[in-house]
């Protein structure tokens, strides 16, 4: 099947029911997307499908043949950062960093829908992404900074 990832088309020979997560990681070598739980409880595998944040461990490859898939690598790179990534760097959010690709993808999708979030909105939008290091206070601050940048843009 053909998959479009970060603007590039890939031919992959996989079962229809292989989770997108494992197609990205093991077949295409795109490892910014992380495996954490496999049951949509941690959010480490969050990617965008047509701009919307989803858990790639729950999406079968066969379901997204015609969709545009974006991973953290496609969101922004050091020379051209997304506003959410800039805020994450400014606030030095990451400790181990393993959950942060998913946190950033979640935040980017959420802020696209709501760039003036209240504290409650942030709690609601970000609580399905687990961080075992406990970077939550900095995630809150970084989301606010990113929202401000996006409003200004």
């Amino acid at each position: 099947m053909k998959l479009s990832v970060n603007g590039k088309s890939h031919d992959v020979d996989v079962e229809n029911d292989m989770p997108l997560l494992w197609v990205l990681r093991d077949e295409l070598g795109i490892t910014g997307v992380k495996y954490g739980c496999g049951i949509a409880q941690c959010g480490a595998c969050t990617v965008h499908i047509d701009g919307q944040a989803v858990r790639s461990c729950q999406i079968a490859a066969g379901e997204v043949e015609d969709a545009e898939i974006t991973t953290i690598e496609g969101l922004g790179q050091p020379e051209a950062l997304h506003a959410v990534q800039s805020a994450w760097i400014e606030h030095q959010v990451a400790q181990c960093g393993y959950c942060q690709s998913g946190q950033i993808m979640q935040a980017a999708s959420f802020l696209q829908l709501n760039d003036e979030p209240t504290d409650e909105d942030i709690d609601f939008a970000m609580s399905a992404n687990l961080c075992r290091c406990g970077t939550y206070p900095r995630i809150r601050e970084a989301v606010k900074t990113a929202a401000k940048t996006l409003r200004g843009a």
């Binding site: 490892t31 954490g36 050091p78 950062l81 990451a94 400790q95 181990c96 075992r132 290091c133 406990g134």
Partner: protein, 746 residues
């Protein structure tokens, strides 16, 4: 110390070793493995040389042997070297280095020796010195125990200084300018006329000369990096998906593998039938491994699917069948025959408890998983003349030796490549995954095999935090705490953990009482007894180890007695405390939280103090008792670490420790039924999520001359301060973790 210092200098063959196109400053050659160079308090004009700086034509690499699980020690170690070497962090790359006895961890032994960390007396220092020797002998290149900062604070700065002075000497020889007229900046030696000679260009020459071994360390007032907020060296990569963790690494021709382990912890699988699995797409081979079976395939998901298709019979767990049995074993351990230590025994506790009004309470703490977000993984490739291991580990030397044993390869032919870790919290002090990956790789010799645990395997086969129980008896008199008698029962973490590495551990295990026996209080009758329970489920070090349960027990016990005495929780703790640096942490949180001010209806505030890993840490938690349950509003933390090396990372780590301590105290436990963990994934073990996270205010204090690490100390007081705050808000005293068995949280 002077004499020992001289001996230490002589026992080293000090030299620098040329590497391809450059120079490595300078791998120590140990002539007498038990010599102890770190006895000397290195300062002005004293000698050392470094195995921490490597310069080649490609650039400058700083070796940071303490593993980074997310706590930022790559950055911290690099900053300590760079401060003296005069390079900017943007100019260097960091590398955790190979397993080597040269990178032993001396600070670990300080916590292993049976002296309070507030005890600087001769006996204490002597025993710590013996432990240092032992540590080096064992070559324990271990990351743990919040030791990276105290371990590296002197030796990494010295390493940087030695490299800098040797490069200056090379520049002097090249140009004829006296060393005294040379300065260094930004990775270069500067001549008086402004000419700049880069370290990289000087390196080949520096390799040819005798290194400078007499260096003096800079005065803290001149520091450029230490004490300033630093941008972590990994922050951009971690925010753009570029950072390669062990689980992400790729080796040419690599196969993927998964395991299915016997669900009952400690039991062996039998009647393994892999015939169905072997027919599945992509499957290469089904291989029995330690504790279960592995499947090698061409993709991780296919391997995981196939592992689930393997048929087998479950072997029984050698551990108690029900949690009631586990708890009964602890209850039965509060007897004289099981006394493991009684390091604290002041006044006449037994006599005082006769005939007086005695307050009693019993506390419990459950098994807990480490559950770092990156499941454990390892890549192993076995070839005729070498074995390579790529993994995230806190114990590279043990990994190297265990892989050598399994493969029959000479240890120097086992190459361990250590990766950044997606969290650990003590999880990667174990290496079962490496052993299993090695067995798989041996079955397809020549091919690299990456074994990735599923989350379920990772959680169900974790070596958990100890289960523990405490019993308190106490008396109060004239509004003051008069007697505190605390007994703690648990199995030995150290025996369980080191036993898996083949090391017997004789003598008492002070982790059974850590976080309780060494608290700097003067109470007229004060006794802390450790009781050793039998080994139950296999257990391991979990962020803050013994103190993770004992800090909760000891501080809540004290809080109950303070309330029984009718005293103020802050004032009575301060009155009882003799250690000045510890008092200041309590005074700091009292000021930060405006202790004593009115919080309003349905609210409460609790304080806790725990010294662990030598770090006095005080926390105040504020809660509201809402109709939907307890809401944690705010936490104030003050910790004494001697020197805050990076205030930004310090703040982040302390907040993380508080979240860790609170989240597990509120929500988490691992229970076993017939040896099988009942919690299999994050849906049943989620700790704290963002919506429950309070605002946290942090202050680092620098009143002590001992440099300490901060990874673990914020954890133990958190649960106690929360329980004490809940009592203040509701009148309900919670004595068992997880607290949500007894009260709801918003």
């Amino acid at each position: 110390m002077g004499k020992l210092g001289t001996i230490a200098r002589r026992t080293f063959l000090i030299g620098s070793v040329a590497v391809a196109g450059g120079v490595a400053f300078g791998y120590y050659m140990y002539k007498r493995p038990a010599a102890n160079p770190l006895l000397e308090e290195l300062g002005e004009g004293e000698t050392a040389l470094t195995e921490y700086v490597r310069i080649s034509s490609d650039g400058i690499t700083l070796i940071t042997p303490r593993a980074d699980k997310g706590q930022g020690v790559y950055s911290m170690q690099a900053a300590l070297i760079a401060e003296e070497l005069d390079v900017e962090l943007e100019q260097v790359t960091v590398d955790p280095g190979p397993p080597s006895p040269a990178y032993y961890n001396t600070a670990l032994s300080e916590e292993a020796a049976p002296f309070r960390s507030t005890d600087d007396g001769f006996a204490a220092e002597s025993v710590r010195s013996v432990m240092d020797v032992l540590m080096k002998f064992l070559g324990m290149q271990i990351t743990g125990g919040s030791t990276s900062a105290p371990d590296g604070y002197q030796k990494l700065r010295i390493a940087g200084a030695v490299a800098r002075e040797t490069l200056k000497k090379a520049a002097s020889q090249k140009t004829g300018v006296a060393v005294a007229d040379l300065t260094t900046e930004g990775g270069a030696v500067l001549l008086p006329d402004g000419t700049s000679l880069s370290y990289i260009d000087l390196a080949p020459m520096a390799a040819q000369i005798e290194p400078v071994t007499e260096v003096s360390l800079r005065d803290p007032s001149t520091w450029r990096l230490i004490g300033q907020p630093m941008q972590r060296v990994d922050i951009v990569d971690k925010s753009t998906g570029r950072l390669v963790y062990g689980i992400d690494h790729k080796v040419e021709g690599m196969l993927h593998a998964a395991v299915k382990l016997n669900p009952a912890q400690g039991g062996e699988m039998s009647a393994i039938d892999g015939s169905e699995a072997e027919k599945m797409r992509g499957v290469v081979k089904v291989v029995p491994v330690k504790g279960g079976v592995g499947v090698i395939a061409d993709n991780t998901w296919r391997a995981m699917q196939a592992a689930e298709a393997v048929k087998f019979e479950t072997g029984p767990s050698p551990f108690p069948a029900s949690m009631d049995d586990h708890w009964s074993a602890l209850e039965a351990s509060f007897v004289e025959d099981a006394v493991d230590s009684r390091q604290r025994d002041e006044g006449d506790t037994a006599a005082r408890l006769e005939g007086a009004e005695v307050f009693e309470a019993e506390y419990r703490a459950p098994y807990l998983a480490h559950a770092p977000l990156e499941p454990v993984s390892a890549i192993v490739q076995v070839q005729d003349d070498r074995v390579d291991v790529w993994t995230g580990t806190q114990i590279p030397r043990f990994v190297q030796s265990n892989v050598a044993d399994l493969t029959g390869m000479d240890i120097e032919k086992v190459h361990v490549h250590v990766f950044m870790m997606g969290g650990s919290f003590g999880h990667r002090l174990e290496d079962e995954v490496v052993k299993q990956a090695t067995q798989l790789a041996m079955a397809v010799k020549g091919k690299p095999v990456k074994l990735t645990y599923s989350r379920e395997e990772d959680m169900m086969h974790d070596f958990t935090r100890q289960i523990a129980m405490a019993r308190m008896k106490g008396t109060v008199k004239d509004g003051k705490v008069e007697t505190l008698d605390l007994g703690i029962a648990m199995p030995s973490v150290v025996v369980s953990q080191m036993g898996r590495q083949g090391f017997p551990v004789p003598g008492p295990d002070l982790q059974i009482v850590a976080g309780a026996w060494e608290q700097p209080y003067r109470i007229p009758n004060y006794r802390v007894t450790g009781y050793r329970a039998p080994q139950l489920a296999p257990i391991s070090s979990w962020r803050s180890v013994g103190a993770s349960s004992n800090g909760f027990f000891h501080d809540c016990a004290l809080d109950e007695l303070i309330h029984a005495a009718g005293a103020d929780p802050m004032e009575e703790r301060l009155r009882l405390m003799w250690h000045d640096a510890s008092r200041k942490t309590l005074e700091a949180v009292a000021e930060m939280s405006n202790w004593g001010s009115d919080l309003g209806a349905n609210r409460g505030r609790g304080v806790a103090f725990v010294m662990s890993f030598g770090v006095p840490t005080a926390e105040v938690v504020e809660v509201t008792n809402t109709p939907d349950g307890i809401k944690i509003d705010k936490v104030y933390v003050a910790a004494e670490v001697g020197r805050v090396i990076d205030p930004l990372n310090f703040d982040n780590l302390v907040k993380g420790g508080v979240v860790w301590g609170l989240g597990h105290a509120m929500n988490c436990e691992i229970t076993y039924t017939d040896g099988v963990a009942d919690q299999t994934n994050y849906h049943a073990f989620e700790a704290m999520r963002l919506y429950q996270c309070p605002e946290i205010e942090v202050r680092g204090l620098e009143n002590s001359d001992k440099i300490r690490g901060i990874g673990e100390p914020p954890v133990p007081p958190a649960a106690a301060a929360l329980a004490n705050a809940i009592y203040a808000a509701t009148g309900q005293r919670i004595r068992e973790m997880p607290f949500n068995k007894h009260i709801d949280f918003v």
